[in-house]
Amino acid sequence: MLRVFTAIPYAWLFVLFLVPFGIVLKISVSDYAVSIPPYTPTFDLAAGWDGVVAFVAALDFENFVFLTEDDLYWKAYLSSVQIAAVSTGLALVAGFPIAYAMSRASDVWRPALMMLVILPFWTSFLIRVYAWIGILANEGFLNQFLIWSGVISEPLQLLNTPVAVYIGIVYTYLPFMILPVYASLDRMDPALLEAAEDLGCSRLSAFWHVTWPLARPGVVAGSFLVFIPAVGEFVIPSLLGGSGTLMIGKVLWEEFFSNRDWPVASAVAIILLLILIVPIVLFQRHQARERAA
């Protein structure tokens, strides 16, 4: 009976992750064709064993080779990783103090603060990104306010710049940073900081020697939760970033829907997955080693 229950999540993973991944992988080694579906070969059961042989023979890695030939792709990957990394750093800088303040707040305030962090999720992500257009546009709220308060005389060009993309990504994924950091800080016994002070730490060095190492698992988890979706982000760069921001999610979208070149698009997706999986595996190895030590 227990086996059946433990099999359910594996079955779920198999059906909803491995099968689609297999399909995408197959398309990535297919060739572009003007047909429905827009690639060849397709699997033909009626042809029997010969059909299988012919099918496998028709698969090749030329789409992956193509990705190395056009510098658009590696530049898009690099720029995505860079934007995601910077955004993750910014989210940490913004999120850590919030999480810290939440963990120090009185029990009366904590549920309310937690609610404020989660509240944005109650509105559609798309609408919230559109709202940022209203804020960041040349005649938007932010520029109006800055001109009104006399800080600037000419509106700042914010929309359709990388700055807007950073603002959008940090804003959107901030709760994913705050919550795990908060969880790890909340678990911390406040007596640990007193013990550190008692043993000769100043407030600052107590933070550095005690709070920070204990928050690190939360910081790492939060960083992954921000970094991974940010690398493949498509909506925010296309709505806020304009044409100047190159991100792989946008390239992927264009391959699929503008060029209708599903095999190249699939190859882009597979490489993106590899880029994300490698650091995760390395990180988990590191965690396992640290636990064993």
Binding site: A191, L192, E194, A195, D198, P213
Partner: protein
């Protein structure tokens, strides 16, 4: 016992105290956690702060550590006024009730933590940590993390860590509270041994009176932010200065009445035409309300009328069998129930008394203490 070796600096007017607490108060809003408290603690003492929860003992300890500032009064440690001195600048270390071991650091690094903050040289740190590990008998556990050792071992790590910097004063906040009874008793003696070996002044906070009696050179019994009695364990037990102390420490019979004749001993009229005698515990006025305090182990139980000064007749209401001891609850016809504990020198099957037996309970005229209400 420390006392029997003649260690009693509190009786020596020339002795300089390590800690002077002078008219210290601590208020949280309207609540006075510490109320105008004055106390001297001497070097090498093992001093226990004893009291029920909320009596202010923890607040007093946290003021010594520097985590709380007094609202009024002065605190001097080793000749230095502690006003405005941060916890990390005091030659005082604390062993926390939760132990507060750093979960991300090994046993070794936990003990070395304070030494590293002092920027001690690496070989010196290693020597000191090894010395501490030996002191608490944890030599083989240096590389373990706190979650990989038992509760008793964690307690020792916490002790080693707080002693590593060789503080002038070590504060112990309910240090044995998380241990089971047997381990606690063993650890009490180890604590005393370590205290003697290191010569550190220990101040321990506890709500466990047995623990305080066992380890301490002096015990301070606290109630509502005030000291009720500060004395050696034997005097706290034998010569309590109030009914509160008598009742808080150990088991006790309290018989209420009025003070009769005063002399070498005091007569207490406690029921119509009936009186008991005991030692005077403080100034008494004839006719005033008073309480006779008598410990159960000082009472004898017999079938035939004894010759002792205090003897009353009653009926056995209940018998509590504790293995080594039996406690008889004897109901007197006048109302009070007297507890009397007797060592079980013969086997249970040969016990002389049983439920509802008519018996005499008796004690000498100096066994009890008459305390003003």
């Amino acid at each position: 016992m420390v006392n029997e070796l003649g260690f009693a600096p509190w009786d020596d007017p020339g002795a300089a105290p390590l800690i002077r607490i002078e008219r210290v108060s601590k208020r949280f809003g309207d609540f006075a956690a510490i109320d105008d408290l004055t106390l001297d603690i001497y070097p090498r003492e093992f001093f226990a702060l004893l009291g029920p929860s909320g009596c202010g003992k923890t607040t007093l300890m946290r003021m010594l550590a520097g985590f709380e500032a007094p609202s009024a009064g002065g605190l001097v440690i080793d000749g230095q006024d502690m006003a405005g001195v941060a916890p990390n600048k005091r030659a005082v270390n604390m062993m926390f009730q939760s132990y507060a071991l750093f979960p991300h650091l090994s046993v070794w690094d936990n003990i070395a933590f304070g030494l590293k903050r002092d920027r001690m040289a690496k070989p010196a740190i290693a020597d000191r940590v090894d010395e501490m590990l030996k002191l608490v008998q944890l030599d083989g556990f240096a590389r373990r993390k706190p979650h990989q050792i038992s509760g008793g071992q964690r307690q020792r790590v916490a002790l080693a860590r707080s002693l590593a910097k060789a503080p002038k004063l070590l504060l112990l906040d309910e240090p044995l509270g998380a241990l089971d009874k047997k381990l606690r008793e063993e650890t009490q003696f180890e604590l005393m041994e370590i205290q003697e070996q290191t010569g550190t002044t220990f101040v321990i906070v506890t709500h466990d009176q047995e623990e305080a009696m066992t380890v301490a050179s002096r015990v301070a019994v606290m109630e509502a932010g005030r000291l009720v009695q500060v004395d050696t364990p034997d005097r706290i037990y034998e010569q309590p200065n109030s009914v509160y102390v008598a009742d808080f420490i150990g088991d006790v019979n309290l018989i209420e009445g009025r003070v009769g004749a005063l002399g070498d001993t005091v007569r207490l009229d406690w029921a119509e035409g009936r009186s008991l005698t005991g030692q005077a515990g403080g100034a008494l006025t004839p006719g005033a309300a008073a309480t006779l305090v008598i410990r159960p182990e000082k009472i004898a139980i017999a079938r035939d009328e004894p010759t002792e000064a205090n003897r009353v007749r009653g009926k056995i209401l209940d018998i509590g069998y504790l293995g080594n001891l039996s406690t008889y609850h004897v109901a007197l016809p006048e109302g009070p129930v007297v507890k009397c504990s007797v060592t079980n020198r013969s086997r249970l099957s040969r016990r002389d008394f049983t439920w509802d037996d008519e018996v005499w309970v008796s004690w000498s005229d100096t066994a009890g203490l008459v305390l003003g209400a």
